[in-house]
């Protein structure tokens, strides 16, 4: 499969009064054509900053792109000027944000907001742009699109606003759609509708999707591959089945153990004790060391390398080093999935 985006060793920091917050510390991942990659992490993991960096939406100052590259079509986005990025945003990469109310302009009609991008990027006439806007609203499942394009965001419900946002993001047929927690603020029944919509659109338009979320249920529903982030780093990547059924990183084990599943009864939820690391003074070694039940001396001092576990699965953990004691994954991991071993 063709690679559509390559993120290599990205590091992003923020300069605040309290010090330099190293939000993203050497993150690398690839995105292939037509697939959905889920970036999972909790608050402070750096997932949102990573997504915004791809679009170069980080304000500098206080932000700073310290190192790394983001390759799209053979060109490094981090080296582009603002004018060049404006051409790329919307045209090559579209973005959907978490809160549709604040990311839509309340003083412009929905139709105008969709048409804006079309007129600018695809050089359509106003008439053509509005016609395409009606088509797009229909595509995202909004009934009565002719009436709707003349309405303002506050006249739409939350779910419909999110659909409108998706319409705007996809209007110029971008290669990549970045969705930053697109359903977190929505009711669960609307969330199901939006996820189904994204899957359908992906099939029809062959768009690659990066979805940022903290909800493993959403990941299981929509993702093809998963990147797990913690403390500003990617700790594990792999295909969705591998991550859920054969995870190798203790943080992934912890996440899976702490989520209640609707279809089973768990006696006790295994919580991960403690709190995420302070990124003003990130640990020298593995960021998960203070909360990891398997922590070793080496974890404190050295960053673990990525080990290739299976075909596409990579895990950054010292437990995979041959010198480490053999550790069995916790019981609940063995219980899931169809194929239980290598």
């Amino acid at each position: 499969m063709k690679k559509v985006l390559e993120v290599k060793d990205l590091s992003v920091s923020f300069h605040t009064y309290g010090g330099e917050v190293q939000a993203v510390r050497g993150v690398s991942f690839d995105l292939y054509e037509g697939e959905t990659l889920a970036i999972v992490g909790e608050s402070g993991s750096g997932k949102s900053v990573t997504a915004q960096s791809i679009m170069q939406l980080i304000a500098q100052p206080p932000g700073e792109y310290k190192s790394g590259s983001i390759i799209l079509d053979g060109e490094d986005l981090l080296k582009k000027t603002e004018a060049e990025m404006q051409h790329i945003r919307g045209q090559e990469i579209g973005m959907v944000f978490q809160d549709p109310m604040t990311s839509l302009n309340p003083t412009m009609t929905i139709g105008k907001q969709i048409a804006e991008g079309l007129i600018k990027h695809q050089k359509l006439s106003r008439q053509e742009a509005y016609e395409r806007a009606i088509e797009l609203l229909h595509l995202v499942g909004i009934p009565n699109p002719e009436k709707r394009i003349k309405q303002y965001p506050h006249e739409f419900s939350g779910g419909m606003r999110q659909r409108a946002m998706i319409a705007i993001a996809l209007s110029c047929n971008p290669k990549i759609l970045i969705a930053d927690e697109p359903t977190t603020a929505l009711d669960v029944t609307i969330q199901a509708q939006i996820l189904d919509l994204l899957k359908r659109l992906q099939k029809e338009m062959n768009t690659a999707i990066i979805i940022i979320t903290h909800d493993l249920g959403v990941v299981a529903n929509i993702a093809d591959r998963v990147a797990v982030m913690y403390g500003g780093k990617v700790v594990e990547t792999g295909e969705v089945d591998d991550i859920f059924y054969h995870p190798k990183h203790p943080y992934t084990w912890g996440l899976l153990a702490s989520m209640p599943k609707l279809n089973e009864i768990k006696e006790e939820l295994q919580s991960i004790p403690g709190t995420p690391p302070d990124l003003k003074a990130p640990p020298k070694g593995c960021p998960f060391v203070t909360r990891c039940p398997y922590a070793m001396k080496v974890c404190d001092e050295h960053m673990p390398p990525y080990t290739n576990v299976r075909n596409k699965q990579q895990t950054a953990c010292w437990l995979l080093d041959e010198r480490a004691p053999k550790v069995e994954p916790p019981a609940h991991i063995m219980a899931g999935g169809l194929t239980n071993d290598e």
Partner: protein, 338 residues
């Protein structure tokens, strides 16, 4: 987990309406009837606009009831009360709030926040006693003594939520309303807080009303669950029964929409599509409020409000589908869902 049959809280036809604009009335809670037994966890779920938060706050007397009654240990919660009666109520019923970033006064130290209940009700006599009690509470919720002199903004969401729990526990209540206590927290922290709540319940014999929209978590923590929609109760059932054999079409649709963290299961699942959008609570549909989105809606659903009846042991629902009088109309639908 067998709970006594002693009723701690009784809600009878509770209504809470808000005036919006000139003439319009928002029926946030429109006729709620249910009981909460001593020592149990009653989960109240619903999506936005269901009225579950308003219900919780009205039961706590933070809002007056427009109509209907709430009884706590046999005595009414609303209405005119003497200072002593109010004090007793406040000490017996406490609340944990949703937003850990807004539920703590940013200008007060943790010590003062947790001790506020003690101060108001005069439960401690000396400064040392106050400090001791606060340190005890901090320890119970898993925080350190040195945290007492800090300000809320220095803590993470999970830690703030635990401070909120310590605050509620200070007056030693019997009944706690937890209004979406974990929705704003990270997943791995949610488990911490839920485990803490469960442990506290066992140690202190607490009774919880757990309001949430996360069905997976509600199933995990509750003994019985009530499902609300547009201010009305759609179904009440023991936790397991609700998930394995729900009676109400809304419950079924809700359950099928929750994503399960298991890719194989997700691939094989059949989604029950629920069409349309939530109607306005200012102008709810006639008859059954869910009928505009229900896949099984019939004429009778628009004409008559369904009775809230116990159709199976311990399982109540408000749906004409199970009503003997109308079973004929729904025969084919019932077969589909069995």
């Amino acid at each position: 987990m067998s709970k006594s049959k002693e009723k701690l809280v009784e809600v009878r036809n509770l209504k809470k309406h808000f005036k919006v604009g000139r003439k319009q009335i928002l029926k946030a809670v429109d006729g709620l009837t249910f009981d909460i037994y001593k020592g149990e966890t009653f989960g109240l779920v619903g999506e936005s606009g269901s009225g579950k938060s308003t219900a919780g706050r009205t039961i706590m007397r933070l809002y007056d009831a427009t109509e209907g009654q709430v009884m706590f240990k046999g005595k009414s919660v609303h209405g005119k009360k003497t200072k002593d009666e109010l004090k007793e109520l406040n000490q017996n019923m406490q609340m944990i709030f949703q937003d850990p970033y807004a539920s703590l006064n940013p200008r007060m130290t943790v010590m003062d926040i947790i001790a506020e209940g003690l101060d108001i009700h005069g439960l401690v006599k000396t400064k040392e006693e106050r400090q001791r009690k606060v340190n005890e509470l901090l320890k119970i919720v898993g925080l350190n003594e040195e945290h007492a002199n800090r300000y809320p903004h220095e803590f993470s969401g999970g830690q703030r939520q635990r401070i909120g729990i310590a605050r509620a526990l200070a007056v030693e209540p019997e009944f706690i309303v937890a209004d979406e206590p974990i929705s704003a927290l990270d997943v791995s922290i949610q488990a911490q807080v839920v485990n803490l709540l469960k442990r506290l319940q066992e140690e202190r014999g607490l009774t919880y009303l757990f309001i949430a929209h996360d069905l997976s978590m509600v199933r995990h923590i509750s003994d019985r669950v009530g499902v609300m929609y547009l201010g009305k109760m759609m179904e009440i059932a023991p936790s397991d029964k609700l998930y394995t054999s729900p009676l109400h079409p809304y419950t079924r649709a809700l359950l099928s929409a929750v994503p399960i963290p298991d890719p194989e299961v997700e691939r094989k699942r059949e989604r029950i599509q629920i069409k349309g959008e939530l109607p306005s609570p200012i102008n709810p549909p006639s008859g059954c409020v869910f009928r505009t989105r229900c896949p099984f809606a019939k004429d009778v659903c628009a004409k008559e409000v369904p009775a809230f009846a116990e159709y199976r042991d311990g399982q109540w629902a408000a749906c004409h589908m199970h009503d003997e009088r109308f079973k004929e109309h729904f025969k084919s639908d019932l077969e589909k869902i069995q």
